[in-house]
């Protein structure tokens, strides 16, 4: 209400209050509309926040500790890599059921090379990546040249590579990995500044600030770009609120890591690969071609797109990423086991769909697939903290997966 020193009359003061209210009302209304129209894309963020909060409460605060978040990142890294590769495959309306055992086999072969044959760690990984490339070519050629459906090709691959994994480890059983560099990939942290003796990991905070600034810059540029061409944009208040929220989350997460041991190396690996693929999909010819083939492969062919070559690339990329995922998984366990790879593809596929990849093809973003990954892995992580039996974990994962896809299908129906 108007104070004594206000220059406005009570009537004018009341009007100003009214205007303020209607502005917030308008912003609120817009938020609701925004949520409704973009429901499917914001759904996963919402789900992630809900899941994390729920576990925070149920674990009495253990979930959001630095140690646990670091664990979560290391646990999720290999799934994230697989989800990136799988998203491309799914956009093209194919599928790759073999990526799990390709990952497992990759870890095993790397371990054998390093531990049993004494090969240099980098050379070992290179050799395995080439092996994965060959696998990708093999499966890709079956799909493109022979026209065997991807489901069948990769299902067969799943059997074959599972067998090869068993064979590879038959004589030795589980192989313990001793190489520090290799183990560091999914257990280590990025180094801090050498002169920093405080308990706060400076490099982490610096990276976070850079990330926030970059994010704000990109968002502002994109908004200005859209406005220049009269494309619809969110109102200023919503836009600023969004920037604030995301920046706050990034800084909070970074702080939590910084007071622990800093940014895990696995996060950097995932980040680099994510950036590369996101750039490819959104900014390059290849990306356009991928979306075109997924949206209407006949139209793409007639428009000059090399459907076979792009599809071959997708399968090669998937297998090579599966090898990287295998490295991360083996690194975290410090060992290559004969059961590595079991059901990896399930997590990858679920991550991608929860992240908004369309069941009907032609739509999907790798950045969102990572959110999907964190949805699934938070469930796993949280339920482990609560020592819930693994069978319940499967049930919950399955239910969440169905809900996410049902939502997507329904919101596309209009």
């Amino acid at each position: 209400m108007g104070t004594v020193d206000s220059l406005l009359t009570p009537a004018e003061e009341k009007k100003k209050q009214g205007v303020g209210n209607s502005k917030t009302m308008a912003a609120f209304k817009e938020l609701i509309t925004l949520i409704k129209t973009n429901a499917s894309s914001y759904m996963m963020y919402f789900a992630l926040v809900v899941i994390m909060l729920v576990f925070q409460i149920w674990t009495k605060g253990v979930f959001f500790t630095a140690q646990n978040i670091t664990n979560l990142v290391n646990q999720a890294a290999y799934v994230a890599i697989l989800a990136i590769g799988m998203t491309i495959i799914l956009i093209l309306k194919h599928i790759d059921l073999s990526c799990g055992y390709v990952a497992g086999l990759s870890g095993a072969v790397a371990a054998i090379l390093m531990e049993k044959a004494g090969v240099n760690v980098w050379l070992s990984m290179l050799i395995v990546l080439l092996m994965a490339l060959a696998i990708g070519l093999y499966q890709g050629l079956l799909v493109t040249k022979l026209g065997i459906p991807a489901f069948i090709t990769t299902l067969a691959g799943m059997f074959i590579f599972r067998g090869l994994l068993s064979r590879a480890l038959a004589k030795t059983g589980t192989i313990i990995v001793t190489n520090e560099t290799f183990k560091g990939m999914c257990q280590g942290f990025i180094p801090d500044l050498p002169f920093n003796h405080s308990r706060i990991h400076l490099v982490t905070m610096i990276l976070a600030v850079i990330a926030v600034l970059a994010f704000i810059w990109f968002q502002c540029r994109s908004r200005a770009h859209k406005k220049k061409y009269d494309f619809p944009v969110a109102s200023t208040s919503i836009f600023v609120a969004g920037l604030f929220a995301v920046s706050a989350v990034i800084l909070a997460a970074a702080w939590m890591l910084a007071i622990n041991k800093g940014v895990p190396i696995s996060a950097v690996i995932v980040g680099v690969i994510l950036a590369g693929y996101a750039f490819m999909l959104s900014k390059t010819k290849l990306g356009r071609h991928i979306y075109g083939i997924g949206g209407n492969d006949q139209a793409a062919e007639l428009s000059g797109v090399d459907v076979k070559k792009v599809t071959l690339f997708a399968f090669c990329s998937m297998s090579v990423l599966a090898a990287v995922a295998g490295f991360l998984y083996t690194s975290r366990l410090s060992s290559a086991t004969p059961t590595a790879g079991l059901a990896f593809e399930m997590d990858a596929i679920a991550s991608s769909y929860i992240g908004g990849t369309a069941v009907s093809g032609g739509v999907g973003k790798v950045t969102n697939a990572i959110i999907g990954t964190f949805v699934i892995m938070s469930l796993t992580n949280g339920m482990n903290l609560m020592t819930i039996d693994i069978s319940y974990q499967y049930i919950v994962k399955g239910i969440i997966f169905i809900i996410a896809v049902a939502f997507d299908v329904k919101s596309r129906k209009k």
Partner: protein, 509 residues
């Protein structure tokens, strides 16, 4: 009030986010008449019929539907069908692998206790086939019939549901002349049997020939209802009401013809279908010169599209047994569409939704997809340039869309076609093949496309126009070829061409 009119739609308002598709539409149909609904694309005809048939259910629109004197509140298509309203869409809704009789009774099978009575089904299906004068074995799978006959099966299906009001949405757009004529006769017979028909069509010649009443919609409003017996139902008057202005000529005139040398030539092209061994093309030869429009006429199935695809990189892998192709003086052999595009050949597909456009992507995506090289800056695509290009063509061809970020699937048919044309123009072709460029497009947009064609040949492009619409081919071409059953059966200069001559060549086996 009600007995004369079987249907009254009163004050219908239907809105979509950002668009008022129907703005206080009033639509009255007399019992037992053939009522034609015309209007430009986006005028609201399909939307009005979707409201009537229950696709847009009660509650999603305001206003009243009064059928047989009673206000109706259809919650679904089943509701409207139960009342006797049936709608036959442009894209037929049949099951190609199932038999004719299974299709006719799909959804309302004849039962004997808990089992389907197939004998009775076959007997009754024969009755309905007789009613539509379709002489086929009801046991044949529907895919064995051509489009025209399939449409008759759809009508038989509607009759078997005891419909009293039958709605046809662009029924003759995929039919050749013979089947079109047959369909119109069937419609007349249905009318004589007391079934009321509503026909949505862009083919004004057919509309004026068959309609008892013509209602014109424009921009979601009813403009007028013309009674065939008392009002002026000339094409000129209808067009005037549809577009709100007169169109002097349906086909824009070309004042100067600047025809140069032969730009594209095909000689002795023969091809087989790999799977069946059927001869698709038999010794086809034709050419087109710079600055020329060459028409390629023929009935459905004559092989015109196959001919175009065979030279455009053969994407469906026909077995080409012979043939030479020259483009701009040099011999070419395109192994895929990409090679063809690089050399300056472009193909605007006849099935824009099926293989011409990526409907879930936006206008700027579809406009640029055939020539991304021109937008690439190092490794990445210059998005500013992309928007610039899309806007340039949007303006030049007059694509009606709020922005170039609009999904192409949301545009009307005519505007989708314009986006397709924009895509190929951006690939800077020397030879442009247009396959049924104005199919399913309203008069206004057609004129725009014809004008664009004239502009292009004035600048020296060569255009091959494949079309089933005889008046269009005669109105636009400089020369025309006629195909029949995979062969070129005739070639005519435009001065010598008459409808009779062309028809004769088209039927000639």
């Amino acid at each position: 009030m009600s007995d004369e009119y079987i249907l009254e739609m009163r004050n219908i308002v239907k809105e979509f986010p950002g668009v008022k598709a129907l703005n206080d539409v009033n639509f009255k149909v007399r019992r037992g008449e053939i009522h034609c609904l015309v209007g430009e694309n986006g005028a609201g005809k399909s939307t009005l019929m979707k409201v009537l048939s229950g696709v847009w259910k009660y509650g999603t629109y305001t206003g009243d539907i009064v059928f047989d004197g009673e206000v109706q509140q259809f919650k679904s298509i089943a509701d409207s069908e139960a009342k006797g309203i049936a709608i036959i869409y442009q894209e037929l809704a049949l099951f190609p692998e199932l038999s004719v009789y299974e299709n006719i009774f799909m959804g309302h099978e004849i039962m004997k206790g808990k089992q389907i009575d197939w004998n009775e089904t076959i007997v009754q299906s024969k009755e309905y086939l007789k009613k539509v004068r379709l002489d086929v074995n009801p046991a044949w799978p529907v895919k064995r019939l051509n489009t025209g006959k399939q449409q008759l099966v759809e009508i038989a299906k509607a009759l078997s549901k005891n419909c009293r009001l039958l709605i046809f949405d662009e029924p003759t757009s995929s039919l050749n002349e013979d089947d079109s004529e047959n369909l119109l006769n069937i419609m007349r017979e249905l009318r004589d049997q007391g079934i009321t028909c509503i026909m949505i069509s862009h083919k004004l010649r057919e509309v004026t020939a068959i309609a008892d009443t013509i209602t014109v919609l424009r921009d979601g409003s009813t403009i007028c209802s013309l009674d065939a017996k008392t009002d002026d139902i000339s094409e000129a008057n209808i067009i005037k009401n549809m577009v709100g202005r007169t169109i002097d000529d349906i086909y824009p005139k070309r004042l100067e013809k600047n025809v140069g040398n032969v730009m594209f030539e095909v000689r002795n092209l023969s091809a087989e279908d790999r799977a069946t061994g059927r001869q698709i093309l038999k010794d086809v030869s034709f050419n087109v010169r710079a600055g020329e429009i060459v028409g390629l006429q023929g009935l459905m199935g004559a092989g015109r599209t196959e001919c175009a695809l065979a030279v455009f990189g053969n994407p469906y892998k026909y077995k080409i047994t012979s043939g030479d192709v020259w483009l701009d003086g040099e011999p070419v052999k395109f192994k895929n569409p990409r090679q063809a595009i690089k050399k300056g050949l472009a193909y605007v597909s006849e099935d824009r939704k099926g293989n011409g456009l990526v409907l879930i992507q936006d206008v700027k995506y579809n406009t640029t997809i055939a020539n991304l090289e021109e937008l690439v800056n190092g490794v990445s695509i210059d998005e500013n340039k992309e928007i610039g290009v899309a806007n340039k063509y949007k303006k030049e061809i007059n694509v009606k869309t709020p922005t170039v970020a609009q999904k192409v699937g949301n545009l009307s048919g005519g505007n989708q076609q314009k986006v397709q044309i924009a895509k190929w123009l951006f690939s800077h072709p020397k030879v442009l093949i247009l396959d049924e460029p104005t199919r399913g497009i309203d008069v206004g947009a057609k004129f725009e496309i014809y004008s664009i064609m004239n502009d292009l040949v004035k600048k020296g492009m060569s255009i091959i126009m494949i079309s089933s619409e005889l008046p269009e081919v005669l109105g636009m071409s400089d020369r025309l070829y006629v195909m029949s059953e995979g062969k070129i059966t005739g070639q005519l200069d435009i001065e010598d061409a008459t409808e009779e001559k062309v028809m004769k060549m088209a039927i000639n086996a």
